[in-house]
Amino acid sequence: MSAPLLQIEALNLRRDGRLILNQVNLSVYPGQVHALLGLNGSGKSSLAYTLMGCEGYAPDSGRILFDGRDLNGLSITERARLGITLAWQEPARFEGIPVGKYVGLGLANPDREQTVAALEAVALSAKIYGYRAADQTLSGGERKRVELAAVYAMRPRLAILDEPDSGIDVLSLVEIEKLIRRMAGDGSAVLLITHREELLATAEAASLICAGQIIFSGDAMEARQYYSGRCRPHLESLGAQPWDTASPEAQAALASNGSLRPTLVEQKSE
């Protein structure tokens, strides 16, 4: 296999004194859909913001390599210009910025045809939505589709999609799956963040994250089995993280071996 496009090495992130990402290692290959699966609060979005370089998400240690280049110290704009972009889980609303303009922002030479095609790729009509503002008047699902269209139009080398399925109805989910495949088909690598194991069908590889740690990395189907067998039941029974990093037990485990549940980590080579 070719060299990884994105390589995360021993990444640690603390926020407000709390360890959010703990020794995260993860690789995404060119054109690959890599799913990052985890329960709410497991650190998925924090990892996305860290990769994008968002304010307050500078890692404490570890490295993020993109095409071999260390991203440390690069701004969001610089990372975007290298070909990384992020579709936010709850996209921002923009008063007065038309959807068509927003979708075309990432294009070097904004072009109506590309914008129309991107909107159609998420099943939105440019005629209806192109001139509407990307503001509060759009429903959550519509705004989400617009966000995905903007990412798709950009043809990034790496698209980080933070829970593209949340707040989306079942029919729209099919469209989103198609879009993810289309992105990969067009050459974009996709880091697909989700807590919905059904979306793993679109991925070739997957990692499971729990309490800021990658506990499994490897084949997407194996990850699905692992998740549905061990993580989901926990979510359903407790409605919370299996391991709370703030608990005295977790802190003790961290102090003694630097990891919460080292026995669960099953890193698989690509």
Partner: protein, 328 residues
């Protein structure tokens, strides 16, 4: 009273008039207006440059009277009861020279049941020391509907002192929808002062947008008194200031009768050494009235900014896009 039909413009007129009219039409275009619209027979128009009434064109249901004063114009604009005016009435005001004063004393009477839109463009393209004072009295009759949109273009020098003042009375079931926009060219000094009284079932919606730079000063005072049962009021203020510009917003909404609903919504974006000030005042005199307010003042929303940066925009371009969108 001076009345001139714009359709005859530039032909058969004195060269000085034609020159002034051409300059006003250019300025009108810079302010976002469409000069072609002023030529259409079905469009009522009033063009005032300094203290001169350059053109005035009436249509059925709309009467325009204007007379020159020493430093301005007194105008009376009447829309007949039940008149439904299909095309917006175009008003074009301005001062072309670098210095001057223009005072417009305007009376608007919108008859009961009438429906009309006004598009006012105010241009001061060369202003270095220009004062523009608008004192308007607006009567929106019972069940009448008036939409008044005013756009300004002030040129690059910041030498304009603009004071739009209006006293508006909205009769029962009437609607007054107003948008004031000063987002092109330098603001200079802007002091908006609107006072509106709304009767039973009436509606008043005010939107004010301005973008101040350098040493511009923006002051917005808006008072809406919801006096009649079920009257509704909304103020939307969208201001952005950068460099050393300042903005001050004093909005006041009174709920004086049962079932009234009022809301004030203010966003001010501040950059560099600019300063913004907001003082909403809510007064409720009836236990079945409700008035709310929300204000956001400060830097550009971080999430909005980062979303645009993630598309490859640099920070200045992203902030400008957010501000331009907000005041659009």
């Amino acid at each position: 009273m001076t009345t001139t039909a714009p359709r005859q413009h530039l032909t058969g007129q004195k060269p000085a008039w034609a020159e002034e009219m051409t300059a006003m039409l250019d300025a009108y275009q810079q302010a976002g207006g469409d000069p072609q619209a002023l030529q259409l027979p079905e469009v009522a128009t009033l063009v005032i440059s300094g203290e001169q009434v350059l053109a005035s064109h009436e249509i059925p249901g709309v009467h325009l009277e204007a007379e020159s004063l020493e430093q301005g114009v007194r105008a009376r604009i009447i829309v007949e009861p039940e008149a439904h005016v299909d095309r917006p009435v175009h008003l074009c005001f301005g001062v072309i020279p670098a210095e001057g004063r223009q005072e417009i004393l305007a009376d608007y009477e919108i008859g009961p049941g009438a429906q009309v839109q006004f598009l006012a463009h105010c241009s001061f393209p060369n202003a270095v020391r220009v004062e523009h004072v608008m004192q308007a009295r607006i009567q929106v009759g019972k069940n009448a509907n008036l939409t008044y949109t005013e756009e300004h273009f002030h040129g690059p020098h910041g030498g304009v002192d603009v004071r739009p003042q209006a006293k508006v009375v909205v009769d029962a079931g009437g609607q007054f929808i107003s948008t004031f926009s000063l987002t092109r060219g330098r603001v200079g000094a802007l002091d908006v002062d609107y006072q509106i009284d709304v009767a039973e079932g009436g509606v008043a919606e005010l939107t004010t947008k301005a973008y101040g730079t350098a040493e511009d000063r923006i002051c917005v005072r808006e008072t809406v008194r919801l006096n009649g049962e079920r009257a509704r009021g909304l103020t939307r203020t969208r201001l952005a200031v950068r460099d050393s510009a300042t903005s001050q917003v004093f909005t006041s909404m009174e709920g004086n009768a049962p079932g009234v609903r009022g809301h004030m919504d203010c966003t001010e974006i501040v950059r560099n050494q600019a300063q913004a000030h907001n003082e909403p005042l809510v007064i409720v005199r009836d236990d079945q009235a409700q008035v709310t307010h929300e204000a956001a003042i400060g830097m550009v929303n971080r999430k909005e900014l980062e979303s645009l940066l993630a598309r490859g925009l640099d920070e200045d371009a992203a902030v400008d896009l957010i501000i331009r969108g907000m005041i659009r």
